[in-house]
């Protein structure tokens, strides 16, 4: 079995893939921040930003609609912003009653809601693109260079490596339980909720022990290869002219969006 489904990286030889990961991280963060700073209802800026993402999609050789398609997985979260509809006073569009509350959807609320969903959706697309054109280990390197403490990046590197091993293990545990979740003919099956919860807890405990013991073995393997408490890595990354050029373009674009969005 494998959990390749976890992989967000898609290998191509595009200009975006070749960019230095630091530049990619910094510009994506800048891009997302810029989105957050756009005022509600900055439609033209939203549209231009989306075009920009479209353009990057094209550059990445992933296909024009790649991030667009992928971004739908994040859409259910739009529900979380529903409360905005009722929270901003303005001209009432319609009203309804639910349990002990009265809800009023106002025009301002609607505007805010739509703006939040769009901004969030644009940001998600940028993040999806980043993960699709940057190998995760390079992403970790980038964060190392951006002075995220080494211990955190190391934990994340191990997490990433063993994510695949352990989720495979979980999948197999879940399958084993599933395949024994049987019923006799004409009989109610499943057991009580408490019992089911206990079984899940047992599985978590089981997984914990195995992970714990595995970390012991990994530590042994590291010792066997000379580890003495500090990790060393080679830095494979170098900043080129094209990286700076791209950074400059992205920065100008962000400034332009802020201008378009506000005036």
């Amino acid at each position: 079995m494998h959990s390749d489904a976890f992989d967000r990286y898609h290998h191509h030889e595009s200009p975006l893939h070749r960019l230095d990961p630091r530049i990619k991280v910094v510009t994506v963060v800048g891009f997302i921040l810029s989105n957050a700073l756009l005022p509600d209802g900055a439609w033209s800026a939203f549209a231009l930003t989306w075009l920009f993402i479209f353009l990057l999609n094209a550059l990445s050789e992933l296909g024009l609609g790649y991030t667009f398609r992928r971004s739908f997985i994040a859409l259910p979260f739009a529900l979380a912003a529903v409360t905005v509809l009722f929270s901003i006073p303005g001209n009432a569009l319609f009203q309804f009653h639910f349990m002990m509350w009265d809800f009023t959807v106002s025009d301002a609320g609607l505007l805010r809601f739509v703006s939040i969903v769009i901004r969030s959706w644009l940001s998600v697309q940028a993040a999806i693109l980043l993960a699709a054109v940057t190998r995760f280990p390079d992403l970790i390197h980038a964060f190392e260079h951006l002075r995220v403490p080494a211990i955190l990046t190391t934990i994340i590197a191990f997490l990433y490596r063993y994510l695949f091993v352990l989720t495979d293990e979980v999948m197999r545990l879940l399958r084993a339980r599933q395949s024994r979740s049987a019923a006799a003919a004409g009989q109610k099956s499943g057991g009580g909720v408490l019992w089911r919860a206990k079984v899940s807890g047992n599985m978590a405990g089981q997984l914990f022990l195995r992970s714990y013991e595995r970390s012991d073995r990994i530590h042994n393997a590291m010792l066997a290869r000379g580890y003495a408490g500090h990790l060393r890595t080679l830095n494979p990354h170098e900043l080129h002219g094209r990286d700076w050029a791209y950074a400059a373009v992205a920065f100008l674009f962000i400034l332009a969006m802020q201008f378009v969005g506000r005036f």
């Binding site: 399958r175 049987a182 003919a185 099956s189």
Partner: protein, 251 residues
């Protein structure tokens, strides 16, 4: 010593698949990889069949279809009952699936709890559950281990307990995924004897060609999602061309 099977003992193919019938089974994983490309075969009551083929042939994928953990296009019939979403729980009580790694099968702290999971989930009364656990442990000769912690057992012991966890559900067919992997010769021998004695239909995937030769009168060879041969083991093992074409070796 390899046992060569007297031909008259072999009952193949003398039935219409009363225990298991698979017809035109196709399956692709979500990432688009086609793992099964039209599998058809059947098992008769009492059959003991080996499933061999190189890594990635689709053996495990096929096994996961037999009790509906995966559901592809095509038909699976267990004991004359067509597998559908509605009768999944019932089917699961008829097909006992044992995974390669016993650690994946044993998720409870004690042996008893693990063997009792199936019957408990089926909603059987307590006395019946206890009786089933006892007879399943008896069958794999691990009665003394009832109160032990699964975590501390040796691999060979775990393997046997893993088999008990499905025997306790009184399955009509046992499906084992690579049961002998990682066992030392003694544990492997014990397992072979156990499998030989269990009076139940079984389908066993393995890379261990000696096990195939010793234990299974009939062998199915899979490669790349297809069944490329389904014949008496002795015929298959004689077919050097077939073996080498599918990365297998004569024992």
């Amino acid at each position: 010593m390899p046992i060569t099977h007297a031909v008259e003992k072999i009952s193949y193919p003398d039935c219409e698949g009363d225990v298991l019938k698979v017809r035109g089974l196709h399956f692709s994983y979500p990432d688009g990889h086609a793992a099964l490309r039209g599998i058809s075969f059947h098992l008769c009551s009492g059959d003991k069949v080996a499933l061999v083929g190189p890594n990635g042939a689709g053996k495990s994928t096929l096994m996961l279809h037999l009790n509906g953990i995966l559901q592809g296009r095509g038909e699976v019939e267990i004991g004359g009952l067509r597998l559908t979403r509605d009768n999944l729980p019932l089917i699961r009580s008829m097909v006992g699936l044992v995974f390669q790694n016993p650690d994946d099968q044993l998720f409870s702290p004690t042996v008893f709890e693990d063997v009792a999971f199936g019957p408990l989930h089926m909603g059987l009364p307590e006395a019946e559950v206890r009786a089933r656990v006892d007879s399943a442990l008896e069958a794999v000769r691990m009665t003394a281990y009832k109160e032990r912690l699964s975590h501390h057992l040796s691999v060979g012991e775990k393997k046997r307990i893993a088999i008990a966890t499905v025997l306790s559900m009184n399955p009509s067919i046992l499906v084992l995924d690579e049961p002998s992997a990682g066992l030392d010769p003694r544990a492997r021998r014990t397992l072979i004897n156990l499998l030989r004695e269990l009076p139940i239909t079984m389908l066993v995937s393995t890379h261990d060609m000696r096990l195939v030769q010793e234990l299974f009168p009939r062998t199915i060879v899979m490669d790349d999602g297809n069944i490329v041969a389904d014949d008496l083991t002795m015929n298959i093992l004689e077919d050097a061309e077939l073996l080498s074409a599918h990365g297998l070796e004569k024992p």
